[in-house]
């Protein structure tokens, strides 16, 4: 006998809350072998809708292929008052540009990144590695066997993406920039 949606929902809520990182449907299924996958999916969907209700301070989000409970962005000012934090140091434009090139062209080597950006990008790559936004993905089988870089799970988490397909395509940007530059 499989678990019902109403039984599953509170358990899923407790598990997602406990996990310190987004927890995937697969992980949840492993923890709950007594639930069948369809019911699990339905319970997750029901839980997500509960969190969408008016007057909640929290939301259930799909990030990096998993589920996570977060505060809603509109309350950030009060939370900052409490945590006494300021918006954390943002990435420099150099780092963001480098990250954009890696996100769209992965896996990509340092020389290839530099070719597109037209400037040395070693420091930006190091910054991104330190922040765990990118990670090595093997080596390219060419002379010197340079390291290939790609985006990490942390990248998805920090940019609130469920997976890479959620990024707009480069063609979308082409339209945008064409409109702007030809004017």
């Amino acid at each position: 006998m499989t678990m019902r949606i109403e039984e599953l929902k509170p358990i899923l809520e407790a598990l997602i809350f406990t996990a310190s990182e987004p927890i995937t449907e697969q992980e949840l299924a492993q923890i709950l072998p007594e639930a069948d996958r369809a019911t699990l999916a339905a319970a997750l969907e029901a839980l997500r809708r509960d969190y969408e209700a008016e007057g909640r301070g929290l939301e259930l989000r799909r990030i990096a292929g998993g589920y996570r409970i977060c505060t809603r962005p509109e309350h950030h000012e009060y939370i900052r008052r409490y945590l006494k934090t300021r918006p954390s140091a943002r990435l420099s434009m150099a780092a963001l540009e480098t990250l954009a090139v890696i996100a769209y062209k992965q896996p990509i080597t340092l020389p290839e990144i530099q070719e597109i950006r037209g400037v040395n990008s070693a420091r930006a790559v190091r910054t991104l590695l330190e922040k765990r936004l990118i990670e090595p993905k093997g080596r390219k089988p060419v002379v010197g066997r340079p390291i290939l870089y790609g985006t990490s799970r942390e990248f998805l988490i920090q940019f609130g993406l469920n997976d890479l397909s959620e990024l707009p395509t480069l063609e979308d940007f082409e339209e945008l920039t064409e409109g702007a530059s030809v004017s």
Binding site: F17, T18, S20, R68, I69, C70, T71, R72, P73, E74, H76, I79, L83, P87, S88, A89, R90, L91, S92, M93, A94, L96, E97, L99, A100, V101, A103, Y104, I116, R117, G118, V119, N120, S121, A122, R123, A124, L129, R132, E135, P136, S152, Q158, F159, G160, L161, L167, P168, L170, F173, E174, L176, T177, S181, V182, S183
Partner: protein, 279 residues
């Protein structure tokens, strides 16, 4: 502008929305190169400022303006990253090619390659990633406004870290650095003898009348050095070269050169140390 051609650290924390208006409002005479992420970025800025089409760049005019920026940077004594110079050479080359009379140009027009073509391709390509970077910035902005739950007790029982090969490499480097430090310490330790330490202290007291012995002890790098120092100090006391003074129980210990130990000097030393404590 750093030698890497990237924004210097101080740009690290300037959010895009604060930088953009600044860039837009810059007159040609106040623009600084370090606002740009590289020669392609600078070229895009010039093209936008001149309101010309990226597909039909008036190369002579843009080249002149580009070189003008570089000259101004030089006038300000700022190093120009090599990438900017390479681009300057490229622009001059394109300009010269376009000035050349094209034989039978009309006939071959369809096939004749526009010397600007490669540059246009690179600019268009770069422009896409620049737009993508701005999108990432706006996404990060939203994410920075959301918070996850506070720590739970279960987190503390699990103080573990995720790791990549780079973390692995860093961990290896850390271990090797510690090993090197320990080896150097061992060598240093074996080199110091009691006789040398005594000679060292004698030299010190030839120069100074008062020495804070507690500070000397605190500076010792190892137990062995501490022990040798202690024995050396005792030896100097035994031969009556120095005299130890302590102003209060468990307070700092001062060593006074014995020849200077008269009641007055001692009183002065004591008073001074009390003042030190008052600080």
């Amino acid at each position: 502008m750093g030698r890497e051609g990237e924004s210097p650290d101080r740009c690290e924390e300037i959010p895009l929305h604060e930088r953009e208006p600044e860039r837009a409002s810059l007159s040609p005479y106040t623009v600084k190169l370090d606002v740009f992420e590289g020669p392609l970025d600078l070229l895009l800025h010039l093209i936008k400022q001149e309101q010309v089409s990226i597909y039909d760049i008036p190369i002579a005019r843009i080249t002149e303006q580009y070189l003008d920026y570089l000259r101004r940077m030089e006038a300000l004594d700022l190093t120009i990253a090599s990438e900017y110079l390479v681009m300057a050479a490229t622009l001059i080359y394109i300009k010269s090619k376009m000035l050349l009379p094209a034989p039978a140009r009309a006939a071959d027009e369809a096939e004749a390659e526009d010397p600007r073509q490669e540059l246009v391709r690179r600019l268009l390509e770069y422009q896409k990633y620049k737009a993508a970077a701005e999108l990432l910035w706006s996404r990060a902005e939203r994410e920075q406004a959301t918070f996850t739950r506070g720590r739970l007790e279960t987190d503390e029982t699990n103080p573990e870290v995720n790791a990549t090969v780079f973390d692995l490499f860093r961990a290896f480097q850390r271990a090797m650095e510690r090993l090197k430090e320990r080896q150097e310490l061992v060598i240093a330790r074996e080199q110091i003898t009691l006789a040398e330490k005594i000679a060292e202290l004698r030299a010190l007291f030839r120069e100074r009348e008062r020495v804070d012995i507690t500070a000397l002890f605190e500076a010792a790098c190892s137990r062995r050095e501490l022990l040798i120092l202690f024995l050396a100090v005792l030896e100097l006391v035994r031969v009556a070269l120095i005299r130890l003074v302590q102003t209060e129980r468990f307070g700092r210990i001062l060593a006074l050169r014995a020849s200077d130990v008269d009641p007055e000097a001692e009183a002065t030393a004591l008073r001074m140390t009390r003042d030190d404590h008052a600080d």
